[in-house]
């Protein structure tokens, strides 16, 4: 089975918009009824597509690590202000 990693970029109307990492040029729209309700904007997930439905797995640690990394980067830029 094929897993791909995505960022949950945002919710808009009935859809969650996922961006395929790392390039994030490809987007995947999934109806909110089809995704786990606990998912939030910014979550990094694995999505498996078996041709019929999506299986979505939250990558908690990776999400946290990425948050820390981006926060640090933002802090460095702020300090330069």
């Amino acid at each position: 089975m094929n897993y791909n990693k995505y960022t949950l970029d945002r919710f808009d109307g009935d859809y969650a918009i996922f961006l395929k990492r790392p390039e994030e040029t490809e987007q995947l729209l999934i109806h909110h009824a089809e995704i786990p309700s606990e998912l939030k904007e910014g979550d990094i997930v694995n999505i498996m597509d078996d041709g019929f439905e999506y299986k979505i797995e939250l990558l908690k640690e990776e999400t946290e690590n990425q948050k820390t990394r981006v926060n640090n980067l933002l802090q460095q830029l702020r300090n330069k202000e």
Binding site: R10, K67, L77
Partner: protein, 398 residues
């Protein structure tokens, strides 16, 4: 298109000027400035050009739009941007800024300060750092002066907002009598706060929040703005139904003209601070549906694709021959995604239609087959092909 208003204001001010000391010199036309609402499909990208050559780019659409934005700016003779604003970190606003950062030198970068875990946001910050660009997280009340008469004021900014859209930097650019209110994706909550704070939101031209979604543009707020013209920046056949009908109603209730990048492409508004001119046709709403009838020249097959609705995810085929056709071995193909639906062993009677459904509401029933609960038809460029048991394409719908 709306020179009339300016002339009216001119006349009113002129009359007023007869009785009062001439402290206001607003009737004097200034050099021309321009605001470009660049067509980036489903997203935002706005370019402000001051008469003195100073520039500000607000958002950059999705990543795929970046190259087009750079090409557009270069065609305008832009080699340097004085300000680039990322209103909030959603990919349909910051994606294209990656190409801009890589191709055009930037003096100051203004960010919402709202953190996103997307690789795109990280890449954007990394580029700002690597290129040593001045970085600013603004607060409401901050001003960016493009020239003496052209000020861009930050009306709202909230890096602590729980929602990315509500972190949107809201800007109001003022050039004498003519003003532009640029809402980003700010929602009703932000609008209400602006009204409660007594912020002056009145504007000649409004870029409606969130691509014309009903999560923005409340009636009270739009009344307070009372725009003469509203720009909706969205992509044709988007999955979100933008612009929503109630927003159109609300705008029409205040007699605002409506323009959209989806219909008009890039919209350029020029103004001398007294009058303004919009280089586009007004929004009609035609083309909002994607059920395109089959061109008559292609009506050669016996079984034909007669409609494709990418919102409802319904493709309809019809047997236009005088005998029943068995569909075993036939295929319906989504060309873009290379997805194939294999028809079951069923007969389609002469003249009868059959719907192939996909998406969450897909079902099998009377004259209806379920392809998949997934979204198949993602965008308007996704052509459908009907292939017979011999593997021949018998019908095609763009």
């Amino acid at each position: 298109m709306s020179k009339l208003l300016g002339l009216l204001m001119f006349t009113l001010l002129f009359v007023a000027g007869c009785t009062e000391p001439a402290e206001e010199t607003y009737e004097t036309p200034l050099k021309e400035m321009a605001v470009h609402f660049i067509d980036v499909g489903q997203g935002d990208s706005i370019f402000i050009e001051a008469p003195n050559g100073k520039t500000m780019l607000i958002d950059g659409g999705v990543k795929g739009a970046g190259k087009e934005i750079v090409a557009y700016l270069k065609a305008q003779g832009v080699n340097r941007l004085d300000y680039v604003v990322a209103t909030h970190p959603d990919a349909d606003h910051i994606g294209g800024l990656i190409s801009v950062l890589n191709s055009i030198s930037i003096k100051e970068f203004i960010d919402s300060g709202k953190v996103h875990t997307s690789q795109t946001y990280e890449e954007m910050l990394s580029l700002i750092q690597a290129k040593n660009i001045k970085f600013t997280i603004p607060e409401a009340g901050d001003e960016f002066q493009l020239e003496d008469n052209l000020t861009v004021e930050v009306l709202a900014a909230d890096e602590t907002a729980s929602d990315n859209n509500d972190a949107s930097i809201v800007l109001r650019a003022e050039y004498q009598n003519i003003s532009f209110l640029l809402m980003g994706d700010a929602d009703h909550g932000v609008e209400q706060e602006l009204l409660q704070n007594g912020t002056d939101v009145q504007a000649t031209i409004l870029k409606a929040g969130h691509h014309g979604s009903n999560t923005s543009s409340s009636p009270k707020f739009i009344e307070a703005v009372s725009p003469l013209a509203t720009i909706l920046s969205y992509g044709q056949d988007n999955k979100y139904g933008h612009p929503h009908a109630e927003v159109i109603d609300i705008l029409q209730n205040v007699n605002s003209e409506i323009y959209s990048t989806a219909e008009a492409g890039t919209i350029v508004i020029t103004t001398d601070g007294v009058t303004y001119d919009i280089d586009a046709q007004q929004w009609t709403g035609i083309g909002a549906t994607s059920s395109i009838p089959l061109p008559s020249s292609k009506k050669s097959g016996k079984i034909e694709l007669i409609s494709k609705d990418v919102h409802e995810e319904i493709v309809v085929i019809q047997n236009n021959s005088n005998q029943a056709v068995n569909l075993k071995g036939w295929e319906l193909i989504s060309v873009e995604g290379d997805q194939v639906f294999n028809f079951p062993d069923i007969n389609l009677a002469p003249g009868k239609k059959l719907s192939i459904t996909s998406g969450p509401d897909a079902k099998t029933g009377a004259a209806t087959l379920e392809w998949s609960k997934r979204q198949i038809w993602l965008n308007s460029g996704d052509a459908a092909q009907l292939v017979n048991a011999k593997g021949e394409v018998v019908s095609e719908l763009q």
